[in-house]
């Protein structure tokens, strides 16, 4: 697997889905036979991985949402590890 380029549009690997769980007050990644409890940052990134946004757009949206700059490295690193775990597809 090569690393992501910023123009790519990641999406959750089918048939995975996200769910906000009120009981736990956290995002869950639902995969066949598996549930992953996500922390806030992981959830925020994955909700934007819908196949319509490029990574550049995704970074811009998250930087605006959190009023921060310089998130690119962290986000790209997370996307690489998420793909490695089988959560994302291109």
């Amino acid at each position: 697997m090569s690393s992501w380029t910023l123009s790519e549009r990641p999406r959750l690997r089918s048939p995975g889905r996200l769910k906000y769980d009120k009981a736990r007050q956290s995002d869950l990644l639902l995969l066949p036979e598996r549930v992953v409890e996500l922390n806030e940052a992981a959830g925020a990134i994955l909700w934007l991985c819908d196949g319509s946004r490029s990574i550049t757009q995704l970074i811009r949206e998250l930087e605006a949402k959190y009023g921060q700059t310089g998130l690119e490295d962290d986000i790209v690193e997370f996307l690489a590890s998420a793909e490695e775990r089988g959560w994302l597809e291109r």
């Binding site: 769980d21 009981a23 736990r24 956290s26 639902l30 066949p32 036979e33 549930v35 409890e37 996500l38």
Partner: protein, 364 residues
């Protein structure tokens, strides 16, 4: 960045919609006393179970049985589960999965389907199922793939089909499965009744495991293979259900709420029913769900064992069925004073005569 699962809330609900089934597999984990149709929960009761489960923190629901397709309200339940945001999986024999049914299930939002298969050849598969089902399953698999739904498959492995393991893996890959559970038989319910007909010999198991490992190499990422251990042949017990009342719950056809699908066989416990109690109360406060949580209930040798946090003392159902005491160390464990029960069974198969099995077919 990723948190680990915590123990406080359940992630998965197994909804056993019915015990009725067109198949008669002798390894079925359903209890010997199968619930009749008139005892099954109504549609409204199941809808309420789904809503309560979602409020409790459940994120995925497995509709199973018996054969869940025998419930004409399955599509409604799937639709409601998806509306709630649950991940919806259907565990089915494939019998009754017509084009029409599949279309409606797909529109209702089903996420994945797990289809069982009994063997690689139709002749053997049909003799195990006690029903001419193999060809119908092939057609069901084809329909699922044509509709673009992920196809997962499972096979229960035992003495009569272990020699076909490579052909079974090939068949599932040919049918388009993305994932295949190779589940060595576990001895509960009907399977326990048939244990001497089902238990394989050690050398047969070793050959099958070697074949599974070769297949892992050969198929790579094309199909995900999951090997579920034959626990009678292990030295230590399985961490059953990831601990009692820790990760998931089961609702039986009659509405009783169980920590796992086999636990209704534990006669020393009384299980609460969703007809009488809120699901949240049952999970958090009922005596049955609290009976074996944590470590304080454990007798020796589990109590002082360093492995207790790995396996929680093994399986409570197996402990009860083999020793009469659900708190006992799972007799699979080499440290159990009851290990002889498992060793005798394995031994009697090693030295017994082979031949055509004489099954007590489920539900006959």
């Amino acid at each position: 960045m990723v948190g680990e699962m915590t123990a406080s809330l359940p992630y998965a609900l197994t909804a056993e919609l019915t015990h009725r089934c067109p198949l008669h597999c002798p390894y079925c984990s359903n209890p010997i006393e199968l619930q009749k149709r008139e005892n099954e929960l109504s549609t409204d009761e199941w809808l309420s179970v789904l809503e309560q489960a979602n409020d409790l923190g459940v994120a995925q629901v497995h509709f199973t049985g018996g054969e869940p397709l025998l419930r004409p309200d399955l599509e409604r339940l799937v639709r409601r589960a998806r509306e709630l945001g649950l991940y919806v999986n259907l565990i089915t024999s494939g019998i009754g999965l017509t084009e029409d049914r599949l279309k409606h299930l797909s529109e209702a939002g089903i996420d994945s389907i797990q289809l069982s298969v009994q063997a690689a050849s139709a002749e053997l598969a049909d003799s195990i199922a006690g029903f001419r089902s193999h060809e119908l399953k092939r057609q069901a698999a084809q329909r699922i793939r044509e509709r673009g739904l992920p196809l997962h498959m499972n096979v229960v492995l035992h003495r009569a089909n272990l020699h076909q393991i490579e052909e079974i893996i090939e068949l599932c890959a040919d049918w388009g499965a993305e994932r295949l559970e190779l589940a060595n038989a576990q001895y509960y319910g009907w399977a326990l009744r048939n244990v001497y007909e089902l238990l394989p010999r050690r050398e047969q198991l070793q050959a099958a495991e070697a074949a599974y490992k070769r297949a892992l190499e050969r198929f790579g990422r094309r199909i995900e293979l999951i090997w579920i251990l034959p626990d009678y042949y292990e030295d230590f017990p399985k961490p059953c259900m990831g601990g009692w009342g820790r990760l998931s719950l089961t609702v039986a056809p009659d509405g009783r709420v169980l920590p796992c699908t086999a636990s209704s066989d534990i006669r020393s416990l009384t299980f609460e029913n969703v007809k009488e109690r809120e699901l949240g109360w049952i999970w958090h406060d009922s005596p049955s769900f609290n009976a074996y949580r944590g470590y304080d209930w454990m007798p020796e040798p589990c109590r002082s064992c360093e492995r207790r946090e790995l396996d929680y003392g093994g399986c409570r159902c197996q402990a009860f069925q083999l020793t009469g005491d659900a708190r006992a160390t799972d007799p699979v464990c080499v440290r159990s004073p009851h290990r002889g029960i498992v060793a005798d069974r394995v031994g009697s198969v090693e030295h017994g005569k082979a031949g055509t099995p004489d099954y007590a077919y489920r539900g006959r």
